[in-house]
Each structure stands twice: as C-alpha cells, then as structure tokens.
C-alpha cells in the first residue's frame, strides 16, 4: 500500500533516494491523522540536522506535528509550493507534497529505517 521505493520512520516520515540526495515527506497515514493541512513550516536551505532533530512543522485546524530528520544531513532544496498550497500534502503526500531534499552525512542510518512492508504492519498496529 505504501511506495516501495521509500523507507519509513516511526514518526511517519518517508525518505526516498534520488540522484544521491534524499527527498523527505510525510506519509498518507500521517496526513490523514492531521486532517486538512493548513500550514507547513519548512527549514532553510543549508540548515544542518542530526537524525531525529526537529526539521519542520505541519499544522492542521485541530493538530500540529513536528517533522523529524529521518537521517542526519543538510537541506539542499525546499518545496516552497507548500507555503501557498499546503493541501498538496493531503492530495499527494508521496509526490507533490514533498517537504525538502537533503544530503546524507551518514548513509548507514538508512538501514535502521522501515521498508514499505514493515511500515504497513506498524501502521496497522497504530490504528488500534
């Protein structure tokens, strides 16, 4: 059910490799939990983060969530389209609703993340 070309964190972020850098967003499960997203606060290009640092914030009418760095690295690109169209996260969480692109300072960290199947099981547990 979840894209197999990405890996997943316990905080419902996805991360996908593209040409040596890594695109990050939140999963459809997270987007559904939040409801209609009204605002996304993105990091700045050049900002550096360690794994699990707070990188961004997502707000809906009834909730706000922090987005954490799935791996350590620095921000290369930011999806500024989300400023005017935060609904992209609800509509296309895995494509148009991407948050930022980052470099990896320690690629090994990826191996600790969940693949699509593990994430699916994880999500099913959450729903209870």
């Amino acid at each position: 059910m979840f894209p197999t070309d990405a890996k997943y964190t316990k905080d419902h972020e996805w991360i996908r490799e593209e040409d040596g850098s890594y695109i990050v967003g939140i999963t459809s499960f997270a987007a559904e939990q939040l409801g209609d997203i009204t605002y996304v606060e993105v990091p700045e290009v050049g900002d550096e983060f360690s794994i699990t640092n707070e990188v961004a914030t997502v707000e809906s009418v009834k909730a706000a969530s922090d987005i954490y760095a799935p791996i350590s690295g620095s921000i290369i690109e930011v999806n500024y389209a989300l400023e005017d169209q935060p609904e992209l996260v609800n509509e296309n969480p895995f494509t148009g609703g991407w948050f930022f692109k980052m470099s990896a300072s320690n690629v090994e960290e990826l191996s600790a993340l969940m693949d699509a199947n593990s994430y699916e099981s994880y999500v099913q547990e959450q729903d209870h």
Binding site: D36, T38, Y39, E59, S60, V61, P86
Partner: protein
Amino acid sequence: MQLIYEKSREGRRGITLDALDVPQVDLPDSLQRESSAALPEVSEFDVVRHFTELSTRNFGLDQHFYPLGSCTMKYNPKIAEVVAALPGYANNHPHTSTSTATWEQCQGSFELIYETEKLLAEISGFKEVSLQPIAGAHGELAGTLLIAAYHRDKGNKKTKIVVPDSAHGTNPASAAIAGYDVVEVPSDADGTIHIEAFKEVMDDDVAGIMLTCPNTHGLFESDVKAIADIAHQYDALLYYDGANLNAIMGECRPGDLGFDVMHYNLHKTFATPHGMGGPGSGAIGVGERLLPYIPGPRVVKTDTEFELSTPEKSIGRMAPFFGNFGMAVRALAYILHLGNEGLKEASHIAVLNANYIHARLKHAYKSAFDNQFMHECIFNATPQAAKGARALDIAKALLDYGYHAPTVYFPLTVPESIMIEPTETESKETIDGFCDAMIEIAEKIEAEDNAFSDAPTTLSVGRLDEVLAAKQLNCSY
C-alpha cells in the same frame, strides 16, 4: 450582521468631551502619526444597537445550561457584580500601594486581599495564598517557578516535571514555559494513576509532579498519598491543579493530601463569571516547603493596619500588583455568602448532579470508566461515531436543543470523549431536560446513519469552515 466598521459613516461621533479649557498644544510634527486611526465613526445609539444585537448571537450561562466538563459553569451571583463595582474598589488606583505615603488610601483593598487569601488557604489546607497570578495557567507557571526556586536554593539540578497523560494542556505548557522537560505518566485502564506507573517515571531528575484530584476523568486519585510520599522522598514537589476543587470542598483538602502548591480557578469553583474567556484568576496556595519563595509584595497585618512585605527569597512579582483584584472581590462575596455549610453543600450537590446524569445516561452512552465519578462524568461516543455521529456531531446537535455542548475531545485519553459537569446550581428539571435531549439524540443516531451531520441548524450560523479560516487568515477588517 454588519461589522461596526461597515456601519461607520464619516463624521459621525459617539461621545464628545467638553470644549478644551486650556490652550491647545500639539505634538511636534516628528512625533505625530500620519493620519488618525481608522476607528469606527458611529453614534452612541449605533454602538448600543450593535452590541445589543451581537449579544443575542451568544449563549450565555444566564440563558443556557453549560455542562462543560472541567469548566465548572456555575451560576454567577449578581451580588458579586455589585461588590466589584463599589466605588471604593473600582476607583482605587493600584499605585497607592507603591508608596508608604499612600497606604492609607488602600487599606480597604489590603484588607480584602488579606481576608480572601486567608479564607482560600483554609478551604484547601495551605499555609498562605497569593492572589497575584492572573489566570489558572498563570498560577501553574507561578507554582512551577516556586518549585524551580526551591531547587535552585537547595543546589538541586532537576530538569523534569511529571504530568499525567490526562492532564489539561496548560499543565505541560506551563512546565515547558518555566523551562522544564515534561514527562508523561500513563493513566491505568481504570482512569487513575497507579503507584507502579508513577514509580517508573520517578527519578532524581524530577523536580515536580502536577496532578489534579479528582482528575480530569472525574475520578479521585486513590494513590495520591502514596504518590506524594514517594515524590517527597525524591525531594520532588507536588502541584495541585485546582480546576476540580468543586468536587471536594468541605470533604478533603489538597494541602492535607501532601500537595506543596496549588492554583485555584476563581472563575470556576468560586463562581466569578467567565466573560467569554476571561478575566479569571489563578490564585495560588503555598505549603511549608515553598513558603519562602511565595510571590511578593504580600499584604501583612500589623496591630493597627495592613502593610506590604516581600519575603527575602520571594520569586518576585507575577503581576504588576495583586492580580485580578476585581475577581477576588467577587470570590470573597461568594465565599462569605456560602460560608462553612454552603461550600460543603456546593460540592455535595455538584457530585450528586453529575452522578445523577451518569445514572440517567449510562444506558444510552458508553461510560468511559467503571469507577465512581465525582463532579463530572465522561462518556466515550465511539459507538455513536461508528454510526456516523461523532462526539462533535452530538455537541452540535445539543446546541439546537438550547444547551451549550459539554466538553468534547478532552481529556485526550478518552476517544470521542464527552465530559459533562453540571455543577450544583442547576435544578433537577434542567438536568432532566438535558438528559432527555441526550437520550433522544442517541435514539436518532441509532435509527439513522450520519445523524446531525449538519447541526446546528437553528442558530445565526451553521457549521463554520475552520480550514478556510486558517488558510485565508483574515483576522482584521
């Protein structure tokens, strides 16, 4: 309905002053604003019509039953409004307290503060009370700052505050604002904190624990004394969130349970009006351990009069003067009128009313817990949600029946929670009418899917688009 700005007409005036009886002096050009503020231009009568009409678009407690759990929406006595408006109090300038030269002008205010603090202290079993904090959350911040001062004074380096998962949002927010990390302790399936769960989060790094009792599930925390003892063994302080004090007045006192500090919500337990969200008052009660740090200046009594004094280790001012003094005047009227028997009776009937509602509704709605509720009861509307009518829809449906909704979606520990607190000032007919409505609503939900999805339909507006509001962010005209 139009905005007051849409009703403005150029040149219209409301209130005018007498002609200026001294020579007019203008500010230098460099200090003047570019153009006058674009405030409304309306007549006094326009203003009166406008706000009178606005008031008809509101549910006030004087018009509607407001069974909001955790809010204690009890009758706001009119005598309280009269005493707050007494010219001796309404017109007393706070800076008369600044200089000893003018203390004779505010002896009546000092006396009121002194007497009110004394009575509040006795009601909940604390040594002293400070009326300075301006709201409950402000009281929580004050209490956390007292805890921080205590540890600083002892050279302790503790960074954590423990709160239950059922805590009101202001608890972790206040702890964080005061510079602490927040650790959650989970409630047990029976809705209370069990001592084993508490022991798991306790260590030398915990500066304090914030609890309320009965808790936000409406249940008395039976392990509270054991929790207090363990906390004190670790030299952690215990904070009592006084939001639910209405359940226990005259039956038990937080000070006797081992709490070191508490806040009162004068706008809950002591009937000062909610005013659309404020002003309230979050006076704090302080026990032996934290007494040296109590906010100051404080009113003290000598043989002949009242004076101010600031304890040496005081954390200083939480407010510019003595807090929301006007709310203290109202609270004193309430306490004096009720007296020793009336305060007890208030808690007794508050608990009776909540249990009665629970008894009447427990066949129509799923009770969130099996334990004995006190002054509020909670239902879990998951069964109704399965039929397409969530707690939100039930809340909106009640508006059409003429009742303000109970609290919904709090505490976070109960899914689809509906928390009902009737208070003691409601008649049996009102409570029965509410229960009849809730039962009718449950029956409708049982009979048809997605019932009440468009409620309310009888008020000045229907359901409002909150997503649009957040996106377009139009917050001024």
